[in-house]
Amino acid sequence: MSGTLEADFTKRFPRGSLIRGSLRCPTDRFHVTAVLGPSGAGKTTVLRCLAGLDRPDDGRIVFGGETWCDVAARRCLSPQDRGVGFMFQQPALFPHLSVAANVGYGLRRLAPAERRRMVTDLLARLGLSPLAARLPHTLSGGEQRRVALARSLAPRPRLLLLDEPLSALDAGLRADVRRQLRDWLAACRIPVVLVTHDRADADALADEVVTLP
């Protein structure tokens, strides 16, 4: 069905554990789906399969009527062809690039002036403007995560995947960022799938919660 992400797949690991990803969520509007599960349940694997970084062993992933992966038909689009934004659990910022260059990394195809405008706009929106020229290793953990979020939002992905977006923050900061994160995501109007082990994070951020066994 167009306007929907439909995913139903399994991924088996060499040591025998079997991960099952089963999701159905709208893609034509801002909607946050949280995948909730304990550590080791395979939440990150579900996100990696959605992004195309891992290949399921069985099943299908269809996004807005476009087949991203169909194991039976031997079809699996690369991450580049899916147009997803992925924020890893660790920020994974490019260490040799400034904050501004990290955020603008996925905008190479735009004209330089347009790229600069979009980067400046995103940095301002996430409160990162004073950090634009800094290198990632000089930032705090919370700042690095905001840069990683800005970087994944910059190319305006069709679907945003967030892996434990609040896990690295201490309790005091966590409540503030939780509220801000929902506002930032809503402003971008991009459908989001996030994974978390924290029920409070899932309830605060998501429109719909899916539980992994």
Binding site: P79, Q80, F86, F88, Q90, A92, Y105, P155
Partner: protein, 220 residues
């Protein structure tokens, strides 16, 4: 110092480093990323020049490049010359001998890189090839540069393998390390000391660069 030997040594070391960058970087990347079970065999082959006596390595290279070998015959048909006792011959020997000095730091740099950087680049729409240029190479650059500096410095001082494959022909295969040997044979200790001093200074500078790069990499 023998100006021709200085020129030849610098040319040999620069050419060796250039060839090692072209051959060694893809090889090291494959070694760092491959999950093939037989990878250890390739790693052992690459590391072999570190533990083999230079005379043994030089002997096999000499035989392998000789006019009766397949490589030697192809080279002779293509150029009309022979590889032993030529600059091309000592270049091949120098590349093989210095392979581990470049490939091991390259492999360590690629292996130590956070794999998520590459995946983040893919998710931002960049192809594997562009990711290699925009992320892998710059992120691993300190390790790559350290490998190139080590290979260059070691190629400058190459002795045993070059002597076996190239002899000591002035202007053709007689490098600085060989002039030291010839000077000592001629009891010209002053000339040998001068050349040795320069080589020690160069080696020290190279090691300082390598350790400075390592220090900077850790600071990140």
């Amino acid at each position: 110092m023998d100006a021709a030997a200085v020129r030849l040594t610098c040319t040999l070391a620069a050419a060796t480093t250039a060839v090692l960058a072209i051959v060694g970087l893809p090889l090291a990347y494959w070694l760092a990323m491959s999950r093939w079970r037989g990878r250890f065999l390739v790693e052992s082959l690459v590391t072999l020049p570190l533990v083999l006596p230079p005379t043994v390595l030089g002997f096999f290279i000499l035989v392998g490049l000789g006019p009766r070998s397949p490589v030697g015959r192809v080279y002779e048909q293509a150029t009309g010359g022979t590889l032993p006792f030529s600059f091309a011959g000592i270049l091949v020997a120098s590349v093989i001998s210095n392979l581990p000095f470049a490939v091991r730091p390259f492999t360590a740099a690629f292996g130590g890189m956070d794999r998520r950087l590459v995946e983040a680049s893919w998710c931002l729409g960049e192809s594997r090839w562009r990711t290699w240029w925009r992320v892998t190479l710059p992120a691993c650059w300190p390790g790559i540069l350290a490998g190139l500096v080590l290979a260059f410095a070691h190629a400058v001082g190459e002795f045993g393998v070059v002597l076996m494959v190239g002899g000591s022909i002035p202007g053709v295969t007689r490098t600085l390390a060989l002039t030291i040997y010839d000077d000592v044979q001629a009891l010209d200790y002053a000339a040998a000391a001068r050349t040795s001093g320069w080589l020690v200074a160069l080696a020290l500078a190279a090691m300082a660069v390598v350790h400075l790069l390592e220090q900077r990499r850790r600071a990140r």
